[in-house]
Symmetry: C2
Subunit: 206 residues, 2 copies
């Protein structure tokens, strides 16, 4: 298998972190230079179907884009440590929190950064400060919900570290590109963030 | 189990469609009036954790929000007809296409409608025509990709109808609120849309 990867981009980092947690060694990493537009070449588009990274190319030639689909596929091949849930109920709770962390935290942060960081101006037709602000406010609204939840839970979605934690931390870490720090009042969020960042696998893909 | 539902809202309709395909009868439907703000009451927020519909309340009191997490849980309880894939490879391809239909079609269409339809003005701080346009253009870019794919495939993600088709059709149908029709040049998209709309389960939740 081959992983089309891009260092420092947040969605590929989710996959690299999952691979590091599971000790996956037998996937070839192919670096795709986003700023040079390598994901927009005819070859890449013909292979993956869309100009996105990450993408996992299986040995039969099938290409899977979408980071969470890739991570769930890797969970099937490398079941331990379990990151997606051990039974249907736990899987549903973990998927719920993973989606919350993705849609209400990671996505608004990504839009904030894309509309703020000078080096990413090429990714948007026009960087709009009001879009950046709107998305920061949205992300902080969910941080408040998450902080309250983490006051009573060590991890986001289960009694252990899961894919939901990865999506949340990778989302927040991307904001470091624009020197953003979550509001200091979110002390439970800060405790959880530091614990997750201290994991050996956290530096994968950075 | 109880499903907190809202007629005509697109995300709850995904769940109702899945239930209808599977013939699920034993879930109590609880209507939540979004325009009256019933999803923002303290009781609802205490139960679900976030002001969102749909939510599935399990018999042990656990509440699952996020439509796709609910649908996957229902697939576990009611495995036939299969909508999420029969093996890990098929599951990955279906999840990839489901996410593409959600992020690049259904979500931009939802934002277009929310920034256009007079009755939905209350859901946004300010309806912005340029946000509506930006999202229509984004959705049409993915429609072009999907139209090309559907030139060679009967359904979006497998050799049969799956959750990816549901997410795509529900996304496009929501645009009917603002009298939107996909560009006529997308003839394969139109063929697929009509075939999916003709399914008996398609009217569930409308």
């Amino acid at each position: 298998m081959k992983l089309y990867d891009s260092r420092r981009a947040p969605n590929p980092r989710r996959v690299r972190w999952v691979m590091a947690e599971k000790g996956v060694q037998d996937v070839e990493i192919v670096e795709v230079d986003l700023l040079a537009g390598q994901h927009r070449t005819p070859d890449y588009r013909a292979k993956v179907g869309v100009p996105h990274v990450p993408a996992l190319e299986l040995d039969d030639g099938t290409c899977i884009s979408e980071s969470i689909a890739i991570c769930r596929y890797l969970e099937h091949l490398y079941p331990e440590p379990n990151l997606f849930g051990r039974d249907a109920r736990e899987q549903a709770v973990i998927e719920m929190w993973t989606r919350r962390c993705e849609f209400y935290l990671a996505n608004p942060i990504m839009l904030n950064v894309r509309h703020t960081h000078p080096a990413l101006a090429a990714l948007e037709a026009t960087q709009q400060p009001q879009v950046a602000d709107y998305n920061r406010v949205s992300a902080e609204r969910f941080m408040k919900t998450l902080d309250r939840h983490l006051a009573e839970h060590e991890f986001v979605a289960a009694d252990r570290f899961t894919i939901a934690d990865i999506v949340g931390v990778v989302g927040l870490d991307f904001a470091r590109l624009v020197k953003y720090r979550p509001p200091e009042e979110f002390t439970h969020l800060a405790r959880w963030l530091e614990a997750c960042r201290a994991r050996p696998a956290a530096s994968a893909g950075m």
